[in-house]
Subunit: 768 residues, 2 copies
């Protein structure tokens, strides 16, 4: 992996700190300093306006616009939905003596940014040196409330260092923002209103009619004599503030944003709802909002912190990951999902992929099971779209989209949207994994089984029988490894479909006994026929799983073993990323893989493969993997830790927690690798912690990287918050709250309670 | 093959005749009644204006516009060139008593169209019944001169049946035409000029700056007092004509069109050239132009006619094919090629495919060797673009584009333009085939070898070595069979590349001896190194040609034999064409093929495969072929005739000559299947005539379809025009002109001279 760190942030256990302003890194920092609360997100852009290179990004989860992409062959999508850049509710302009603050033009010093994991705030400090010689210290603080979904708070503090006088401010709400990929503004303003107290504006997206209400109130120790400012797609207030040398003064903007992501609310209702919320929140004191936010984060860290001793960089890195995961999603809204870049940029269009179930779900299952369930409920909510998609591609049941914001397929590359079948199996795996850990039969019976039936139907109609082999499998597919574009019998898809059939059949068997009446309803609703069960059973049993009998290596797809060999180390560093530097067709004709495929299913169903089998497959595939997906290294790290390759485990981990902080892929400017952040969590918990959650009991096989003194993490399991602490000599497990739970540690059954238990660190388990 | 004839044209041995006007079939007829002279073509549209559904199509060979299609992955084209709809030089409007003639609105009777193969003219007759009760017979005659490249002639004759009076006419040149696919006009007018004699206009395409000059002069037995008409992108003359009951009067428009297809001429030069030509041609008498045209066609039929006794429909059909082939291309312009729809429609964008060398070249080789050479020279002229394309896709040498008008790749579907490699081998086969028949070493040494070297270089860099097999081949390709989208070791490509290497090496060996000095120049020019020759030799020798050892069936690509089986007869007729009715991805996961692939190379290198091998492969692939390419049935017919399946040979032939006349594919409205028309010629000559041209001597194995009394065709071979006549008892061969030639008939050597030779019709050779 030709990845090199670009280190420019200060290392701190509880914050991200940047000192000095670097225009070249501005977009990267905008991504890193993003704030969000699952409902909305804002990049860390300069709200006072910036004439240099920036991406003013303000996003609302699920709020989407449509792009028509024209007629094509049947089964290829003709339009897509994307997360649209929305209101700039932080809009502020600051003028003094005719100069307007602009980091690209103004003389400034002492610039710092700070993203604080404990207070959940983002703060920028700077000293503005005017032409007249006057110096003004300004502090911009913002937060997006984790508890009051619709609330964003901005506080701007002025401290004149060598003068007294007055400053002009314009604070507003700007719907005139450009969606960068489209190069245009996608909003029609529906109405605006202003009173002395509240400025409000509501707009809707041009094609989908999704609506967004935005309003703000201002607070200040000074009386602000405001003048209204109305421009195209903009509403605001202009005011001046008196400054006294050496003294701080400030104003606070409380912004309320209410989105309607499926055009279901009337404009009137949304306006009413927004105005009522604005009136209520307008009465809040800023200090209350700040302390409420800190208190929320304090609770999160109590449950979900990971502590690493002896490695301040990764300590900071993993907390950044956990912080951003919670900011992106915490399950308060069942209609939301996790875009590949969360709410931090336009790239990947705000779309959710299989990453949700395969990479993010475990984090939520073991930290916030309600959120895990909400993620699965997103798939239930969008079942009808998946059924429509299956019909569109001449199949039955439900074909879950490879990329979606609202349930409709939104990937405009047919080779992905029509050939990649691994979202359905990811959903089915997610249901199984969630139920296996939480035991939530309510969910399984009320929603899970219905999804499983429709998913199995899809895999029973998309697959075919080999003419010579007589085996069942999938032809014309692309597996998770996107460097093999259109192949037959991708081993991952075949195995996952087999498992999906089996789990569907098992669940139906269980439900017939446990909840026959609900099952009868589902049978009626889905039109399920007994012969379908026989068909799925037959297809599961005769599923083609190509494997070399001698070496035990699974063949990624039919013919993979004869693919021309590429020594990936012979590729010059300048040719990475290959997507940019190689002809598109050239990527697909080697035994070179982009990300784990065989190794992925060996991780997901870890218990079903021997260590020897994992070793053989790791040794075959690892040298062929180019990790051009940011999801890739962590899976390798986890497997390397298990099969006794501690050096490699640590080598692959090096990119995990600081992928964005050190901008390893040189594209953090586009947004954070949000779903890879979840892989970083897995890398520690499943990798060094050796946790496995695919058995009947949760198990651990902890090891300690040589560079670390100790580490600890916590997982919620069967209602118990288990703390696992590992140091150079021992592994300690404690039930922090909630009674006791039985787990396996190094294969030994252990009942962990509040008193805790200690075992010596496993032999040979120190990771170099 | 679920193909049903839509018969509506009268059967006539020397003409296409339609009686009555059917708006539903108007576009189909526009295609069928197309005129062309290789330099330009016009659809058979109503030049007097028509408010119903029509495609006003006027095309100039090679004249192209550019469409930018946006950034994509590296190696995928970002713009394409297409044949742009050009000036309506036939523009005419006819008014009488305030009514304007319009077939959609006017009352008409006695409507007929006639395309005459002997005179090379298209004539429409109608009687226009005015509201006042007046009836006027109008005859529109047009031709595009085969000898005077730039000249188009239109003659409009009026004969009032029951009145005398005057009629208003506006005749003009309209650049305001819409390119239907783009939905817009693609022309900027550069200048116009009018004198009493000449109206002229010149325009250029918006993006490519290709220029087109158009001018006309009018002739009439009446003195025409013309008034100039100037509108946007239009220039014309308005005049009235006196009509006397029962008498005919007419006017003639002589239009001169000069194109600049590569923006190489200055506007001034083109204007001068055009005006000089217009002055000259303006002096021509229409009768001279008509007789010149008839005389040209008389010469063509002397050389190239095919006569079929006992089957008037196919007699008409094959003459239509020969007529359209000559109209589309006859080799006077080395920079031109043959678009898939010739000069008759916008679909396929006027682009040339491998069809040129694989399907069209034989017709020209045996009828007009100069034209065959010109086609190959097009590839030489565009060698530099092919070399650029190879570089774009990370290869060396020359990668000939899958679809092109000017040498640049213009197929915007990457799966075709990046994966289909069979144009290069088609060019290399074309060179070999042409040289094999004509013995033209001049061409081979001056241009052919240089192309062969660059083609071999491409195939030596695009291919790879199988990791297990140790064999050389092509990964990630689409063969001629477009129902297998991305496969490894397509048998056709591998075999054709092997042959291409071998022919390159043979030619180099020959040239080293025969023309060492020229070879030295080419070596220098191409930077050829000796080790490349060893490399090509090695790759040819170790080329993977997958074949089942027991059955002798070649495997279309690695894994084809295990592809899920599709009983193509089980597909409901309503699902054809599958491209429109099946999800795109579904097309590609069966053992169903779109067109011959293995059978194609068995036809091209016929002499190298035994009849048994052909039989085995035919019996395997024929039941799997769906013929969704119009190029497909004829190849099957030719092979069926050879392997003793006369019924099938005739069944597949049924679509050949009348594919467009009977609109079998229901898309003739889009334009003619021009390259399939060439396959119809091959179907008779190579199929029933059993001609083979891939050996050292031309050979024949004639058979007679049971429904025919007799047939004859002629081929130019070694400077001799050979006539082959077959009736129910015998085969007669005569050297019509040019001395004598040695051929094989039923395996016997025969020296054919002017006296001729007769053999009994081969045993079992009557095709049912």
């Amino acid at each position: 992996m030709a990845k090199v760190a670009d280190k420019y942030l200060k290392v701190d256990p509880w914050a991200i700190i940047e000192e000095g302003f670097d225009p070249e890194r501005n977009r990267t920092s905008e991504s890193i300093f993003s704030l969000g609360n699952e409902y909305m997100g804002v990049r860390g852009y300069a709200e006072e306006g910036y004439s240099g290179d920036m991406l003013l990004g303000s996003y609302f989860n699920g709020l989407n616009e449509q792009l028509d992409i024209g007629k094509h062959y049947k089964g290829i999508i003709t339009s897509l939905r994307y997360m649209v850049n929305s209101v700039d509710w932080l809009y502020t302009r600051i003028s003094l003596e005719g100069e307007t603050l602009d980091l690209a033009r103004s003389k400034i010093s002492d610039y710092t940014r700070r993203l604080d994991f404990q207070t959940g705030t983002y703060q920028r400090d700077l000293v503005w040196h005017l032409e007249s010689g006057k110096s003004l210290h300004i502090t911009f603080t913002r937060l997006v409330s984790m508890t009051m979904t619709h609330l964003g708070l901005q506080q701007v503090t002025f401290k004149p260092l060598n003068f007294s006088g007055s400053i002009e401010v314009c604070s507003g709400l700007d719907f005139g923002i450009i969606h960068e990929e489209r190069g245009e503004n996608m909003w029609n303003v529906l109405c605006t209103s202003e009173s002395d107290e509240i400025s409000a504006i509501m707009a809707s997206t041009v094609n989908t009619g999704n609506k967004l209400f935005s309003a703000f109130t201002l607070q200040s120790p000074q009386t602000l004599n405001t003048t209204r400012v109305v421009k195209d797609k903009f509403i605001g207030q202009r005011f001046s503030m008196e400054l006294t040398q050496g003294e701080s003064t400030h104003f606070t903007k409380l912004a309320v944003n209410c989105s309607d992501t499926d055009s279901s609310k009337s404009a009137y209702d949304l306006w009413q709802e927004g105005m009522e919320l604005t009136i209520t929140t307008g009465k809040l004191e800023a200090s209350v909002v700040f302390s409420d936010q800190a208190s929320y984060w304090s609770g999160i860290w109590e449950t979900s912190d990971i502590q690493i001793e002896g490695d301040p960089e990764n300590q900071q890195g993993i907390r950044f990951c956990i912080f951003q995961l919670y900011q992106t999603y915490h399950g308060d809204h069942p209609g939301f999902n996790i875009g590949a870049k969360g709410l931090t940029g336009e790239v990947y269009r705000g779309l959710a992929f299989w990453d949700t179930e395969s990479y993010c779900l475990p984090f939520y299952m073991f930290n916030n099971p309600k959120a895990a369930k909400s993620l699965l409920e997103f798939r239930y909510k969008t079942l009808s779209q998946a059924m429509q998609r299956a019909e569109d591609v001449d199949c039955k049941g439900a074909c879950y989209p490879i990329a979606t914001i609202d349930g409709t397929e939104s990937c405009d590359l047919w080779q992905h949207s029509n050939l990649q079948l691994h979202v359905g199996t990811a959903v089915s795996y997610g249901i199984w994994h969630y139920v296996n850990i939480t035991g939530d039969r309510d969910f399984l019976f009320s929603k899970g089984v219905e999804m499983l039936i429709q998913i199995s139907r899809f895999y029973a109609t998309r697959g075919q029988w080999g003419q010579r082999s007589g085996e069942y499998g999938y032809y014309g597919v692309m597996g998770p490894d996107e460097f093999q574009l259109m192949v037959n019998n991708n081993c991952y898809i075949n195995l996952m479909a087999k498992k999906s059939f089996e789990y569907t059949l098992d669940s139906i068997r269980e439900m017939k006994l446990a909840a026959p009446e609900v099952f009868a309803e589902i049978t009626l609703k889905t039109g399920l026929e007994e012969q379908e069960l026989d068909d799925w059973s037959d297809k599961a049993e005769r599923m083609r799983i190509p494997q070399d009998p001698e070496s035990g290596v699974y063949e990624e797809h039919d013919g993979f073993f004869d693919m021309p060999h590429m020594d990936i180390h012979s590729i010059p560093v300048t040719e990475f990323p290959l997507y940019s530097n190689w002809s598109y067709d050239r990527l697909y004709r080697y035994d070179m893989i982009k990300q784990p495929d065989v190794l992925m299913f060996m991780f997901l169903y870890s218990g079903q493969f021997s260590k020897e089998s994992k070793l053989a497959n790791y040794e075959y595939y690892e040298p062929r993997c180019i990790h051009e997906s940011s999801l890739s290294p962590s899976i390798h790290s986890i497997l390397a830790a298990e099969i006794g390759k501690p050096d490699e485990a640590y080598k692959f981990f090096e990119f995990a927690t600081r992928l964005d902080l050190d901008n390893y892929n040189r594209n953090t400017r586009e947004g954070l690798h949000t779903t890879s952040i979840a892989a970083a969590w897995m890398n520690i918990v499943y990798g060094f912690g050796g946790m496995r959650s695919d058995g009947s009991v949760l198990s651990f096989q902890p090891s300690l990287p040589e560079k670390w003194t100790s580490y600890s993490f916590q997982v919620l399991y069967e209602g118990v918050l288990l703390r696992v602490a590992v140091d150079q000599s021992k592994v300690s497990l404690t039930a922090v709250t909630g009674g006791s739970a039985e787990v396996l540690v190094y294969g030994q059954k252990l009942l962990v309670n509040a008193t805790g238990a200690e075992l010596p660190l496993g032999k040979g388990m120190a990771v170099k």
